[in-house]
């Protein structure tokens, strides 16, 4: 059986190898991805994001347990930053999920960002496609997110869970600036901590202000409390995820989102390829800019004007 067929049959070793090839930019990965792509678009992709130390991995651990209790096969992509200096990374998220290591219904994969932006690696989209084709019903994508700059996971995911914790005043400010708008489910983790009630009231107000401006049939962001370290709160979060998935199906957004995601990825790939081509085409212009003979705007205009196709 070739690799793509093995992935479609749900074999973990095959899926893991394909993700590796895609992560490494191995051309064999793209060939296999082409074969499995028609089998994608079924999985519910869920982003889990929030500041470092919010307990995201522990929360994912109890969500896995909850999904498994409902008999669902689930996958996890845990994305952590690579060092911009060495390219190395320490990927420790699965440590919190180690009790699921030998469960054949759970596939956990760690990815370094490898220079990717927005808290994601370039391979994150591809890795979700592989897990989707393997037949996992729900895929959790865990990323570090502090502000809007790091919220690319919201474009990847059908549903995004924002994880907040009590007493992080600055983080709450960051949420006002965008995190809250980005998520469909808001979870206050570590709800046994001091300051919990105050943070909860603050978040309730933000949710209320947002809801007040929305149409009646729009999705209203639920605010849920959890103590992931004690296993509390998972059932309500999974129920909210199910409700949001239903909502997306009802309004036709589920497949539209998948389509937009593919289109975004296409544009990103095409953009990167075009950039490489342009850099090959423009050594003289680049030299002239470097030596200050030409200003950057004029150089860019000349490059675009030299391309075939209609004038902009």
């Amino acid at each position: 059986m070739d690799l793509a067929a093995a992935v479609l049959a749900g074999q973990v070793a095959a899926g893991a190898r394909l993700i590796r090839w895609l992560d490494d930019g191995d051309p064999r990965g793209r060939a296999a991805l082409r074969e499995i792509y028609p089998a994608t678009g079924r999985a519910h992709i869920v982003g889990i994001t929030g500041p470092p130390g919010a307990g995201k991995s522990t929360l994912v651990d109890i969500l896995i347990a909850q999904e498994r209790a409902r008999g669902r096969r689930v996958a996890v992509l845990a994305v952590d930053p690579s060092s911009p200096f060495t390219g190395g990374a320490i990927l420790g998220d699965r440590l919190r999920m180690s009790r699921h290591a030998v469960d054949p219904g759970v596939f956990i994969r760690s990815l370094g960002t490898r220079g990717g932006r927005g808290g994601l690696s370039r391979a994150t989209y591809d890795a979700t496609a592989v897990m989707d084709a393997m037949g996992y019903e729900r895929i959790f994508v865990e990323t570090v997110g502090v502000g809007q700059e790091e919220m690319d996971v919201t474009a990847l995911a059908h549903s995004t869970v924002i994880v907040a914790v009590p007493g992080l005043g600055d983080e709450v400010q960051a949420m006002k600036a965008g995190l809250l708008e980005a998520g469909e489910i808001l979870v206050l983790n570590k709800a046994d901590r001091d300051g919990h009630a105050q943070t909860l009231r603050h978040l309730e107000l933000l949710v209320h202000l947002r809801t007040g401006t929305q149409a009646a049939d729009a999705w209203h962001t639920p605010l849920l409390s959890a103590v992931a370290s004690r296993g509390e709160g998972a059932a309500a979060i999974v129920a909210a995820l199910d409700a949001h998935r239903e909502h997306l199906h009802r309004c036709g957004e589920f497949s539209l989102q998948s389509g937009r995601r593919s289109e975004q990825q296409f544009l990103a790939i095409a953009g990167a390829r075009l950039r490489e081509r342009l850099l090959e085409l423009a050594p003289e212009l680049r030299a002239q800019v470097r030596t200050q003979q030409l200003d950057p705007y004029t150089a860019a205009e000349r490059l675009v004007a030299a391309l075939p196709g209609p004038d902009p």
Binding site: A13, G25, G88, I90, L91, S110
Partner: protein, 140 residues
């Protein structure tokens, strides 16, 4: 960073041993050398480590052992990986492992045993050389 293929290394601890200083020092040295290091957590069974190594599709599995029991659990992990068709992964171990146990572990499939007092630079150099030799062999 396109085309970058960092070595992926799973670092694991087997059994009841909870000493983490050694494995943490090694993890940071490997990260500094540009490798991706995946931790599996403490008190793992050989089954859990083998499963994680496959899910993560790592190149190298490194086991840290600072308690007795390695003569059983380490060979068991090697066998599980072979049975799962993952014999292409490099197996190494380190920690408090008496010299007289080294032949047994090598026989079981461990390419190199880093005993107490090993400089992390030796580990980095060994893994880097292995990775370079392997990618050379993979070239058409």
């Amino acid at each position: 960073m396109s085309g970058a293929r960092p070595l992926r290394v799973l670092l694991a601890k087997l059994g009841m041993d909870t000493h983490t200083v050694g494995i943490t020092v090694v993890a940071h040295a490997l990260r500094e050398a540009g490798m991706e290091v995946i931790f599996t957590g403490l008190k793992q069974t050989p089954e859990a480590v083998a499963s994680a190594a496959i899910q993560e599709d790592v190149d190298v599995v490194g086991v840290s052992s600072l308690s007795a029991g390695h003569t059983r659990s380490l060979p068991r992990l090697a066998r599980l990986l072979r049975e799962a068709g993952a014999a292409d992964k490099l197996l190494v171990a380190g920690g408090v492992i008496p010299e007289e146990d080294v032949p047994l572990l090598e026989e079981a499939g461990y390419a190199r045993i880093f005993t107490m007092g090993t400089d992390t630079r030796q580990i980095v150099a060994y893994l880097t050389a292995w990775g370079a030799a392997r990618s050379g062999a993979l070239q058409p």
